[in-house]
């Protein structure tokens, strides 16, 4: 016999199901009156420092169908690369960059968009610098455990080349699936493909 470790297992994940919006964004779904407003409406407040950008995209399945029930959450650093979080120890983030948002696919078209400030590169305490990125967590009916991916930016070539997370991707040809394409000043396109030849890289971080 050995001493017990007194450790627990993480609660197993279950799909968010088709009605996740009842729980997380009831106002957007048309169930007003329970909460004054939905949480995560915007990752920034008036006065946030940095370049305003809008990223637009959709989530597509292995059959090429666009998901209209996907819910995405985003989490990012401010323009200086600091997180507005009690867990941030490197400095004080811009108080107007909340950093977190809930992004809904349009119930009819499946298009989603995120307006935010472009995040700065994140220098890690243990060394190395992550290129500017926005972490995503994607849930939907049929998704058994939330999918983790990241939006990087195609116009950050040098930073991307030095990013220790991108460097973990063995199949270099898949890296472009994580790069938001610039479509105009402050405008980017980022489609998420759940399955297939152009499948987005998903992480276990």
């Amino acid at each position: 016999m050995t001493q017990p470790l007194h450790q627990l297992k993480e609660s197993p994940s279950q799909t968010a199901g088709p009605y996740v919006h009842i729980g997380l964004t009831p106002n957007a779904l048309g169930i007003p009156g329970i909460y004054p407003e939905d949480l995560g409406l915007s990752p920034i407040r008036e006065g946030a420092k940095g370049e305003r950008i809008t990223i637009t995209g959709h989530v597509r399945d292995g059959a090429g169908m666009i998901l209209r029930d996907a819910l995405i959450e985003s989490w990012q650093a401010d323009a200086a690369g600091l997180f507005n979080s009690p867990s941030e120890t490197r400095g004080k983030a811009d108080p107007n960059v909340i950093g977190w948002a809930r992004i809904l696919a349009d119930f009819d078209s499946g298009d989603w968009s995120l307006t935010t400030v472009k995040p700065g590169a994140v220098t890690l305490p243990q060394g190395g610098t992550m290129a500017p990125h926005i972490a995503l967590w994607i849930v939907a009916r049929g998704v058994n455990i939330g999918l983790q991916t990241r939006i990087y930016f195609e116009d950050e070539g040098e930073a991307n080349a030095a990013c220790p997370v991108l460097a973990r991707i063995e199949h270099k040809a898949r890296i472009p699936t994580l790069l938001a394409k610039k479509t105009g000043p402050g405008q980017y396109r980022f489609d998420i493909v759940l399955q297939g030849d152009d499948e987005t890289v998903f992480f276990d971080l």
């Binding site: 009605y19 009842i22 399945d61 867990s87 009916r141 998704v143 898949r174 297939g196 971080l205």
Partner: protein, 243 residues
């Protein structure tokens, strides 16, 4: 302090404990499951940090689904759902945002896509939220949701369940799961439950009846503890190369 630490690397997810992405018994997963291996590495600051949720953001009845929609009571068996949020090192996690949603007592959701013949309850909205306290404890007052049929197979029914979204201190702890009720014979027959590989992991989502927390002549209680990814001890994290 027994509180879970706010900083440090997250313990890696045990992907063999969670449901895999591709589970043909749950048909919608077939085209929505990534087919490539996940790219793995230790957590980074992007997963170790997250927004703060304070109890001050909560409305008075946010965790009372019986009255939070119209102020008039929803129909159904009144229950308390309560428990603690712990991490994998069994430390309580305070400040966790817990959001729940579920069907009404007849098994019907307030959603235009739900055409089940059970009627809507005009006084049941279907969602609630709270933030765990300093001991990691949380509670909801609600009605017990009904089982409902769904078109996955010819005669497939979901067991009574409450959907739960949990947001700890790190974005990498983000989790959605479901709570089931002790003794429900539909649990073992449910294709979504059965996406979970082991009976031990399924059991972790089945809330026991908790008579000690029930209120006489008022409501029954079910206890549901939630476990989030923990953080590794970091005594040796700052060692120099080669030491």
């Amino acid at each position: 302090m027994s509180d879970a630490p706010l900083t440090g690397p997250l313990i890696g997810r045990d992907r063999l404990w969670h449901p895999p992405a591709y589970t043909p018994g749950y048909k919608t997963s077939v085209t929505r499951a990534p087919s490539r291996a996940l790219v793995a590495m230790g957590s980074t600051l992007s997963e170790e940090t997250g927004p703060a949720f304070g109890r001050d953001m909560l409305g008075l009845n946010d965790n009372n689904l019986i009255i939070n929609f119209t102020g008039q009571p929803a129909i159904g068996e009144r229950i308390i759902m309560h428990g603690r949020v712990l991490d994998e090192n069994a430390r309580p996690v305070p400040g966790v945002l817990i959001e729940i949603w579920h069907a009404n007592a007849g098994g019907r959701y307030r959603h235009k896509k739900d055409g089940y013949l059970a009627p809507l309850d005009p006084n049941f909205g279907g969602c609630g939220r709270t933030v765990s306290n300093a001991d990691g404890a949380y509670e909801f007052l609600t009605i017990r949701p009904g089982a409902y049929p769904w078109p996955n197979g010819v005669n497939h029914w979901r067991p009574m369940h409450i959907h739960i979204s949990v947001f700890g201190h790190g974005f990498g702890q983000r989790l959605i799961t479901q709570m089931y009720f002790e003794g429900d014979p539909l649990i073992a027959r449910c294709p979504i439950v059965n996406t979970i590989p082991s009976q031990a992991a399924i059991d972790a989502l089945v809330a026991p009846l908790d008579m000690n927390a029930s209120i006489p002549m008022d409501c029954l209680a079910y206890k549901f503890d939630i476990v989030l990814r923990g953080r590794r001890q970091t005594f040796f994290e700052n060692r120099r190369e080669g030491m």
